[in-house]
């Protein structure tokens, strides 16, 4: 049996085709290595994208030809924003940045996070169907976050004075001695002199008791009538506490109904009653940790939008 060899049946035509192919390949390799073909590739890429956009296969990123919409996760520094937000991972993936030709820049996409935007230089949050100005600002975002994780809710509220309670006021009839509790802090004054300032209920009430009782004359306290009241956070009209005659005996169940704050029993009752009032006043502040996390999120979003939209 004769041995068969595989052979190419070369003709001039085939040879020329082969040579041309090699030349084309050499030119392409040279073009790629010297980056000389980059403009051509870019142009072809642009044309290809245009065809895809024309055929609605690819999105040009513009919504209604007015807003450029992009997932925050793919934007530069987007991962930093998402990493810091108080939000679950699935929701983070939904967040989009809308950059519009009418100068409005908005963060949308996550129902849990809510919608925020910069509109004519004003930072706004969407509440229901309405946009409202978002005024809360944070001086130092890092300290705020540390405090949020470190402090108790009450301590946090006091430090940031974000939502003050109504005031609990104790006063002498002539208001020369006054003790005011607000948002966890007491200020006790003798005329204009502060005799106590701090958060200890015991110390504040005891120092007030000293102001309204004394000195002892012939073995008895020279006591003053004491009144109490609850005023709005910004109300400074302490005279009305004394004038409406809400005597302290109404609060402490005074033994002699004398309107004085002069016995140990009065003080025990006062402290007990005040702790209930304090609890209810603090409850009136609706902010909880999640609200503060929202404030923190809003601050991060505000800075992110500023960094992306000029």
């Amino acid at each position: 049996m004769s041995e068969k060899k595989a052979s190419v049946d070369w003709t001039i035509g085939r040879l020329l085709t082969f040579v041309l192919l090699i030349i084309v390949l050499v030119l392409v390799i040279y073009g790629i290595s010297t980056k000389g073909l980059n403009p051509l590739f870019e142009r072809l890429g642009g044309m290809f994208d245009s065809v895809l956009i024309l055929l609605h296969v690819k999105d040009d990123g513009f919504e209604n030809d007015n807003c450029y919409v992009e997932k925050v996760s793919v934007l530069s520094d987007g991962d930093i924003l998402l990493g810091n937000l108080y939000l679950n991972e699935a929701e983070k993936e939904k967040i989009e940045l809308n950059v519009c030709r009418d100068s409005v820049c908005a963060i949308k996409g996550s129902e849990e996070l809510g919608e925020y935007r910069f509109n004519k230089g004003v930072f706004e949050k969407k509440k229901g169907e309405e946009w409202g100005v978002y005024l809360f600002s944070i001086r130092d975002i890092n300290v705020f976050k540390e405090d949020l994780e470190k402090l108790s809710l009450e301590e946090f509220k006091i430090k940031y004075d974000v939502d003050r309670t109504r005031q609990f006021v104790l006063t002498r009839s002539n208001i020369l001695a006054i003790a005011v509790w607000s948002s966890g802090t007491w200020v006790v004054k003798d005329k204009d002199k502060i005799v106590y300032s701090g958060s200890s209920d015991d110390e504040a009430l005891e120092s007030f008791k000293e102001l309204v009782n004394g000195p002892k004359i012939f073995g008895s306290w020279f006591s003053s009538f004491v009144y109490y009241g609850i005023l709005d956070a910004n109300d400074r009209d302490y005279f009305k506490v004394a004038s409406v005659e809400t005597g302290i005996s109404n609060l402490v169940g005074d033994d002699g109904v004398n309107g004085f704050l002069d016995t140990e029993e009065d003080m025990i009752n006062l402290k007990s009653e005040f702790s209930k009032i304090k609890e209810s006043l603090l409850d009136e502040i609706n902010f909880d940790k999640e609200d503060f996390q929202e404030i923190y999120n809003a601050h991060l979003i505000k800075n992110f939008i500023i960094s992306k939209c000029g």
């Binding site: 049946d9 519009c100 100068s103 820049c105 939209c309």
Partner: protein
């Protein structure tokens, strides 16, 4: 010629490659022919961008580049004006009340030639620069404005002249 096993011969393979290349070329030419490719606003923007890039090359070589937006009066339907807009890593630059240039992409050291009509601003000719730009005042340069481009250590200075 087919091999006995039904496999492609070298000859057939070459023909297929050439045919595919021809089809791709034809498709590109056909698209160029039928698509509304030529747009005066786009082409002018691209020309401005090419001019800017050549001036930046001059700056890269140690010289001082110059760039100028011509104060051309527009015809009806043409863009009202052209602007050199430096986005940097922003996605939009405020232009007028309730009007912004939008880059339409997340980039770095991004510069665009944008056209502005009575209704809208469009930025179609854009490029990422090697270095950031320092441009005092507004982040855009408009009709009749001229800038000198200088390459500093790690940035370009665009100075209005």
């Amino acid at each position: 010629m087919k091999s006995k096993k039904g496999e492609l011969t070298t000859n057939e393979l070459l023909e297929i490659i050439l045919v595919v290349a021809g089809i791709v070329l034809l498709a590109v030419f056909f698209y160029s022919l039928v698509s509304p490719m030529w747009d005066k606003g786009d082409e002018t923007s691209k020309a401005y961008l090419e001019s800017l890039m050549s001036q930046i090359e001059t700056a890269d070589d140690g010289g001082v580049g110059e760039f100028f937006i011509w104060p051309i009066e527009s015809n009806e339907g043409d863009p009202v004006g052209y602007y050199l807009v430096y986005f940097g890593d922003k996605l939009s630059i405020s232009f007028a009340e309730e009007r912004s240039f939008v880059s339409g992409g997340d980039n770095k050291n991004y510069v665009c030639i944008c056209s502005s009509s009575e209704e809208v601003e469009i930025c179609n000719a854009c490029k990422d620069l090697k270095f950031p730009v320092i441009l005092s005042g507004e982040s855009y340069i408009g009709k009749g404005e001229k800038i000198a481009i200088t390459k500093m250590e790690d940035y370009y200075e665009f100075k209005r002249v």
